[in-house]
């Protein structure tokens, strides 16, 4: 199935070059792939994986390993950030 991984701020360094100007990385993954699987597969540093959203909804740390992605899901991840 097709999903999109979005990485922002310092996590942008983990994007391939062609995705750096959009922060969006579309990819094919196997059915049943979880949020935690994608974080592990792309070796995202755990200390930088802070704000995790699927289709804009927050996924708490305890649910990430068990949260399955479905077709066209958008997984967006930020390190600890703030503003205002």
């Amino acid at each position: 199935m097709r999903v999109t991984l979005k990485l922002y701020a310092s996590l942008s360094d983990h994007l391939p070059d062609e995705a750096k100007r959009t922060n969006e990385w579309p990819m094919e993954v196997a059915d049943g792939t979880t949020v935690g699987d994608l974080i592990d597969r792309h070796q995202l540093p755990k200390r930088l994986v802070h704000l995790v959203l699927v289709n804009g909804h927050y996924i708490p740390p305890a649910s990430r390993d068990a949260h399955p992605l479905v077709e066209n899901d958008v997984l967006a991840i930020w390190p600890p950030v703030a503003g205002g």
Binding site: K6, Y8, A9, S10, S12, K20, R21, T22, N23, R47, L48, H50, L51, L53, N55, G56, H57, Y58, P60, V74, A76, W78, P79, P80, V81, A82, G83, G84
Partner: protein, 615 residues
């Protein structure tokens, strides 16, 4: 004791400058800056006074930690009755002016009356005088600061001043120091302008030497700086990406007010985000962001210094804008961009430079342009009236309207009234996205329910900085709460409001609270100030300050009906994103909030609350 214990009182009508002792009983109950200056203002003016009349007063106030070695200890506030709202106005600025005022030996400057001709206040330690400013009238902020430094032959003079918008009575004119740090909201600059006060220029060489327990203060401020450095947000996120890192976050959760709050996601958000500011432009191969910058004593350094593309249509014939200058912050980028559907990053940088150069609030200005563009698309406003075709998404309309507002020309005079008065003038008051006349900042109240309550109850009109529940509802600081529910939000908002009222009264920056709790600030105050500064005292003080501001607003005529949101947010559901189908639950939250506050159903503190807080 941290305070200098001295107030400078300046009567512009009589042209007198007098020194008086700080009321230390009040300092122990209201601390400094926001709390203490509001106490003075509320005690000295009639809350029903016309904000632009000589009877209003305007106060520049530092906090006890301003000018000290505490991290971010450079803040000052400008407190007055605001012309945009008619409510209490308190705008907070960083840079270096606040610390310099403290170094000159003053906790506060209270300005009264109105000068018969333009003046500026010159302060060199104890040497204080009003000087003629006729030659500065009509000058921008940038020209004024340069000229005053030149006249004083001292590049270290710090200047807090108004630009042309403050002179012209733009109701959201700011007071700007250090070229691009601003007491930005609620029109404090228009009050200074109404008094013919162009600037305060200050040079202080006395330092801040009267710390109650210097050894302990040095130890505790060092420990607390370590917390800021080691925290991922204040140590890395904010210095690297600035506040603008929120652009993609808020858009992703569907809380991005877009095109005058018609939509909750902006398709152009990525193009105007922190990430875009970091990457090379296609036009010239250079990134817009040059560097970050810190205010006095700050170990976070979230400020942006940017350079516009010199070939951009806005500046191609204006070399004065080609150099490094204050860059886009999130709220400005939202208001100038998303609120109008504009995704041209350099057009936004140009507009924000003009806001700095002539001293006006980009939030209220940008949001007002959002209303103008909606009225234009409805056919209510025409190209002939505005001076340009102004559909949503037009960068050229945005930058043209910024220019004419800065200069006070043509339709720019109407824009300078703010969205409430502008929308009323054209028969569509419902299109003003504001509370108490002040425009919303960059979070949609349908998708972040606590922010709706924050806006509705903010004592200075719609504002994010009075209780920044985004920290909890979106960013998980200190704990994550669900942005889509109203449950628990009255208590959350009250807690943020009270704690922020204390932080705003210390001389420190509220951004420290991304890493510090109030219990991290408490020992710094305890070491700096004599007397008891327990957590219990600070908690009560925050509540006292909030209720004092509320009482001022009640006396000015504000009631329950003013704690509300525009109908759009209560009846037009979010179209997409996690909040799809939701409207703001403000009507449900208000009664619970009033209960928690100890207010009656009309939003007035009860006699019991007033007595408990010692008001």
């Amino acid at each position: 004791m941290a305070w200098t214990r001295k107030i400078l009182r300046v009567n512009l009508t009589d042209r007198t400058c007098t020194s008086e002792p700080l009321n230390m009983d009040w300092a122990h109950d209201y601390l400094g800056q926001r709390g203490l200056a509001t106490k003075y203002l509320a005690s000295e003016i009639d809350p029903k006074v016309d904000p632009l009349s000589p009877d209003n007063k305007i106060i520049w106030a530092t906090g006890p930690l301003t000018g000290t070695m505490a991290s971010t200890g450079g803040r000052y506030s400008v407190v007055t009755k605001g012309p945009l709202t008619g409510a209490i106005a308190c705008s907070n600025s960083g840079g270096y002016f606040g610390a310099e005022l403290k170094f000159a030996g003053w906790d506060m400057v209270i300005i009264e009356g109105r000068a018969s001709s333009p003046v500026y206040l010159s302060i060199e330690n104890d040497k204080v005088e009003l000087r003629d400013a006729s030659h500065l009238w009509g000058k921008t902020v940038w020209e004024t600061e340069g000229q005053i430094k030149s006249e004083h032959q001292d590049p270290q003079v710090r200047v807090s001043c108004i630009g042309r918008t403050g002179e012209n009575g733009v109701l959201y004119a700011a007071i700007v120091n250090d070229l691009h740090r601003a007491a930005g909201r609620s029109g404090v600059g228009a009050v200074a302008g109404s008094k013919n006060l162009k600037a305060i220029a200050v040079r202080g060489t006395l330092g801040v030497g009267n710390i109650a327990n210097p050894k302990e203060f040095m130890k505790v401020t060092f420990e607390k700086k370590k917390i800021l450095k080691e925290n991922a947000v204040t140590g890395q996120g904010l210095p690297t990406y600035g506040t603008q890192v929120l652009m993609n976050v808020i858009n992703e959760i569907g809380a991005m007010p877009t095109r005058n709050h018609k939509d909750v996601q902006f398709e152009g958000a990525r193009k105007i985000s922190a990430e875009a500011m970091h990457e090379p432009r296609e036009s010239d191969g250079k990134a817009q962001l040059i560097n970050n910058q810190a205010c006095f004593g700050c170990t976070i350094a979230c400020g942006r210094i940017s350079k516009i593309d010199a070939t951009h249509y806005t500046v191609v014939n204006s070399p004065k804008y080609w150099g490094a200058s204050g860059g886009l912050e999130y709220e400005a980028a939202w208001a100038l961009g998303c609120a109008n559907g504009v995704d041209d990053l350099d057009a936004l940088q140009y507009a924000t430079m003009l806001c700095n150069e002539d001293g006006f609030d980009p939030i209220s200005f940008g949001a007002t342009i959002g209303a103008v563009m909606e009225l234009y698309e409805m056919g209510v406003l025409t190209k002939e009236e505005i001076g340009i075709e102004a559909p949503f998404g037009s960068a050229k309309a945005l930058t043209y309207l910024t220019e004419i507002t800065a200069r006070g020309e043509g339709f720019g005079k109407i824009i300078g009234l703010g969205s409430k008065r502008l929308c009323e003038k054209y028969g569509h008051p419902e299109l003003s996205m504001s509370v108490k006349g002040q425009e919303f900042p960059a979070y949609d109240a349908r998708a972040v329910q606590g922010m709706g309550l924050t806006y509705a109850t903010s004592n200075r009109g719609a504002c994010h900085l009075r209780s920044y529940t985004i920290s909890s509802e979106v960013l998980g600081i200190p704990v994550k709460t669900d942005p889509l529910t109203t449950e628990g939000k009255p208590a959350l908002v009250k807690a943020f409001q009270d704690a922020t009222a204390v932080v705003d009264s210390t001389g420190l920056c509220v951004f420290t609270t991304f890493a510090w709790a109030l219990s991290d600030i408490q020992p710094q105050l305890q070491a700096a100030c004599e007397g008891d500064w327990s957590m219990e005292k600070l908690d009560l003080m925050g509540e006292r300050i909030w209720n004092m501001e509320r009482q001022f607003n009640n006396a000015a005529g504000f009631t329950r009906k003013d704690d509300d949101l525009p109908a759009r947010l209560k009846t037009e559901a979010a179209k997409v994103g996690p909040a799809k189908g939701l409207v703001s639950g403000i009507d449900k939250m208000i009664p619970e909030y009033y209960d928690l506050r100890g207010w009656d159903p009309e939003g007035r503190p009860t006699a019991e609350t007033v007595a408990r807080l010692g008001l």
